[in-house]
Symmetry: none
Subunit: 235 residues, 2 copies
């Protein structure tokens, strides 16, 4: 079963060795990793997997890194995804600095892995606080992702693995509506085939545990669209 609720990264890099190294280290840090070998592939994978962060090599065969960057920025889905550029020393460094490429940060090769990881974390924290935050607190609901504990007020909740992950996903993006299909993709993973209605059942179970004592339901059903964590609940 694929682990989810994790921040995901798309690596766009044609040099295979570097790619593997980055993947290894990012996965060690708890990221989910996608790869693309060239610009075209990058656009496809970005659209399909909608990563939380894109690491983009400046020098790519065919479509250049900067062009990929532009196209990603032009599309709705990927417009706000942070991008870290990898550049060789001296290679257009100043132009990158000056140009509005739309990249959020860039790193000059060769770079140390810890520097790279530190920057990734920094970018991620800035753009998606919920994704890398250790504890997420919304209203009287508190999820500690390090200790794997969920509290409503002082009451500790016992959630099954799937319920936990669904809640995690919803709380990471309060207010955002997830379709059943999206939840299946991110919570269950793309490999498994599960009936869409199954999501309803788990949402039901989650609600039951969440609202045991008759509290206000923090999960909003959006008819014919999906579910979301009610953002008005957080206040």
């Amino acid at each position: 079963m694929s682990e989810t609720g994790r921040p995901s990264v798309l690596i766009v890099e044609d040099e295979s060795a570097l790619c593997t190294l980055l993947r290894y280290n990012l996965e060690r840090e708890g990221y989910r990793v996608f790869e693309a070998r060239n610009g075209d592939e990058a656009l496809v994978v970005a659209a399909e997997s909608s990563p939380d962060l894109i690491v983009l090599d400046w020098m790519l065969p065919e479509l250049s890194g900067i062009e990929v960057c532009r196209r990603l920025r032009a599309r709705g889905e990927s417009r706000n995804v942070p991008i870290i550029m990898l550049t060789a020393r001296g290679e257009e460094t100043d132009r990158i600095r000056g140009l509005d490429t739309g990249a959020d940060d860039y790193i000059v090769k060769p770079f140390s892995m810890s520097e790279f990881l530190a920057r990734s974390r920094a970018v991620m924290r800035r753009v998606r606080p919920g994704l890398v935050e250790d504890v997420i607190a919304l209203g009287d609901i508190n999820m500690d992702r390090v200790n794997h504990r969920v509290h409503r007020g002082t009451r500790e909740l016992h959630l099954g693995p799937t319920e936990y992950r669904i809640l995690e996903r919803l709380m990471q993006n309060p207010g955002r509506v997830f379709s059943r299909e999206q939840l299946l993709d991110t919570v269950w993973g793309t490999e498994v085939y599960v009936e869409a209605r199954t999501v309803d059942v788990h949402i039901g179970r989650l609600r039951k545990t969440l609202n045991q004592s008759g509290e206000r339901d923090p999960i909003r059903t959006v008819r014919s669209a999906g579910y979301s964590f009610d953002e008005t609940f957080a206040n």
Copy 2:
């Protein structure tokens, strides 16, 4: 993903072999390790990862160790981070001693790993008490890491090496859930290949010894996630 509750160290060292050695041993001790190859990188990584301790080579290409030290001290974020200097024998030793470099301690190369770890622990104990204590006491369980003795109440427990290390790892971070893979990495090491389920067996053995007299079980199983030392047990 940012891991908290774990002491972190930044190694600034251009000699790759030494760097690897230090990293290996520090990680074994439960530290989170960042690396930098030169002074500039050190400043960047220090700012981004805000380590609890910096191990700084005196001789660095470009920016010298002492200069890095000064700059770190000049900046708000890193002003109070303890620094351990690594120096070659005879190399400016007296001047370091005399100068107000801002370093907290220094070690002359070559040095024994246990001396290095002892000093790191000493510095860390000052800055992050609790994470590197010689004796860890949680509830009625007491682990003396110097004498390698574990007591539950007055009863001394006999643990095998592996059980001891697992318990150590768990007690260093009460509450934090470790996956089987993480435990394998930190307790067994990354080189050996061991079945993930083997962790279960050792946890079982640990529990058996821990709860001989029918006491409350301090180890929490988190289904499909791993194990943790129950932090509510400590109260």
